[in-house]
């Protein structure tokens, strides 16, 4: 069976590789056609942590939806572990930009949807879900419905949902967007520790330069719509990285590079 159709087991997995060539998206057709993205190339190694940063509307979410096989590709190819993508990848954990929780399920059963659909062992998954809740500061929220949770809590539930089945690949679309600055720093560290332990491949979408530099092996900087990758910055900082990234003089060098690109592209006007 193909890697993307077998029922997933929750065994520790080594990350998958993601390669995209000439990836392009045009929404609609005829006079409504809107060129939203690309062409872009991606080459993400197994176990690599790559961030995509760029201005609003440049096509980051579009990229992640195409890479995970959820949106049809207008042009180009995506290969996961060397195999061309023909259907949605299921060896994956996705955090969507709008967290997309099911409002008819409690927090914990939103996470347990992974177990139900993938038919994973229930008791074991429940334990993992509860451990993730504790790790993400969601104790006591298990039996609440999404409308009873704050925006930040909802986002953390959707992070737990993306992680609970221990996927070999994580795609996160601005996962910390709704969090306050304090939790954001903490969860950034938690994610880094988790990644150091499991070495999944991560494609991380963000607006935050600090997050991108703080987490990634590589940062891909995108231009305005239709987005292209204009610069690739390898982040060579020791891990785990500290709460206050300013401790590293290199941090401000990296940050400065990204700001400079944004200024050059006319995204920042100072």
């Amino acid at each position: 069976m193909a890697h993307n159709s077998a029922p997933t087991t929750a065994s520790p997995t080594i990350g998958a590789s993601i390669v995209a060539k000439g990836l392009t998206k045009v929404y609609g057709r005829g006079s409504d056609a809107f060129h939203a993205l690309g062409p872009i190339d991606l080459d993400i190694k197994p176990g690599e942590f790559v961030s995509l940063i760029g201005p609003s509307g440049c096509g980051k979410s579009t990229t992640m939806l195409m890479v995970s096989g959820l949106e049809p590709i207008t042009d180009g190819v995506v290969e996961v572990d060397g195999k061309p993508l023909t259907r949605p990848i299921s060896e994956i954990g996705i955090v969507f930009q709008d967290h997309l929780l099911l409002d008819f399920r409690t927090a914990i059963s939103n996470v347990m949807l992974q177990q139900e659909i993938r038919r994973l062992p229930r008791a074991e998954m429940k334990e993992r879900a509860q451990a993730l809740f504790a790790q993400l500061g969601l104790q006591g929220a298990e039996e609440k419905y999404p409308w009873q949770l704050s925006g930040g809590m909802r986002q953390r539930v959707s992070i737990a949902r993306a992680l609970v089945h221990d996927p070999s690949m994580l795609i996160m679309d601005e996962p910390f967007g709704a969090l306050d600055a304090i939790s954001r720093t903490q969860i950034r560290h938690d994610l880094e520790m988790l990644w150091l332990e499991k070495r999944k491949t991560v494609l991380f979408i963000t607006h935050s330069i600090e997050e991108a530099v703080g987490l990634s092996d590589r940062v891909l900087v995108m231009s305005k719509s239709p987005g292209r990758i204009v610069e690739e910055i390898a982040i060579d900082l020791p891990r785990p990285r500290p709460a206050h990234l300013g401790e590293y003089p290199e941090f401000s060098v990296y940050a400065k590079r990204i700001y400079t690109i944004f200024e050059k592209l006319g995204i920042y006007k100072f």
């Binding site: 159709s5 299921s90 409002d103 419905y145």
Partner: protein
């Protein structure tokens, strides 16, 4: 951290009790005024009975009323269950298959605007006097609201929710049972609530014209002999039957969709 609610069940029961008490109070006041006015102006029983008259009748003829109420309830339940059981899958089919939507839906809209009880005489020709005609009319009464609301429910599901199930490798049936159906439940229940009201009305009318049992039949028979107090007792019993069905819907909604139990 804990939400300020003892338990959802108790909260629900309390809310129900409060509204029930209010209703009883309102009914008592109306009956009291009615009783007073009718006694004051000495309205004859055969023209307009006092509450005391028909309440006495209600209790003295309770077994008879109950017998017919049960017959009405059976018809109502059967027609309603049939209506929902056919309307919901059909709604799914219509929403999923474009050709059905274009071909079948206009027909359904036409059938919907057609006054349903008018079919009664035709149905009598086909099926004869009996509960079947009433079941069919009840079915028709509740079928359309459920169909229409179920369709809009199935359509209103945020298509992005399917991103989740697809990224989990869900089968179509898993997607339906775990996402699409529960996400449409509020709409379906809204349709069923309208449907049950229409069905409760339809069942009595159907029994007027085509039945040999049920409250509609009983009231019609009492009308023939100008038995006013029996007619009013039947009316009360019919209201009680409708109340039971409505309450059952609310309880069913609260039990099946605990996520909608938001505090006010």
């Amino acid at each position: 951290m804990k939400l300020q609610s003892p338990s959802p069940g108790r909260e629900l029961a309390l809310a129900w009790l409060r509204s029930a008490l209010l209703t009883v109070l309102a009914v008592c006041i109306v009956m009291g005024v009615w009783q007073g006015l009718a006694a004051w102006f000495q309205v004859p029983v055969w023209l307009f009975p006092k509450p005391s008259d028909f309440m006495l009748r209600f209790f003295s003829d309770f077994p008879l009323l109950l017998h017919h109420a049960l017959a009405t309830s059976r018809t109502l339940l059967l027609g309603f269950v049939l209506g929902v059981a056919i309307a919901v899958p059909l709604a799914l089919a219509i929403v999923s298959i474009g050709a059905l939507e274009r071909g079948l839906f206009p027909v359904i809209v036409f059938l919907n605007i057609m006054p349903k009880t008018v079919i009664g005489p035709i149905l009598i020709v086909w099926f004869g006097i009996g509960p079947l005609v009433s079941v069919v009319i009840v079915f028709l009464m509740c079928f359309f609201p459920v169909l229409v609301d179920a369709m809009s429910g199935f359509r209103a599901v945020d298509p992005r929710l399917y991103y989740i199930t697809r990224s989990m490798g869900a089968s179509p049936s898993q997607t339906f049972w775990r996402v699409r159906l529960p996400a449409s439940m509020t709409h379906i229940f809204a349709g069923m609530k309208i449907g049950v009201v229409k069905a409760a009305e339809g069942v009595i009318i159907a029994e007027f014209i085509a039945s040999s049992s049920g409250l509609g039949y009983l009231i019609m028979r009492a009308s023939g002999s100008m038995d006013m107090t029996l007619m009013f007792s039947g009316l009360i019993m019919a209201a009680l039957v409708a109340l039971v069905f409505n309450t059952a819907m609310s309880v069913g909604e609260a039990v099946l969709m605990p996520w909608t139990r938001r505090p006010e």
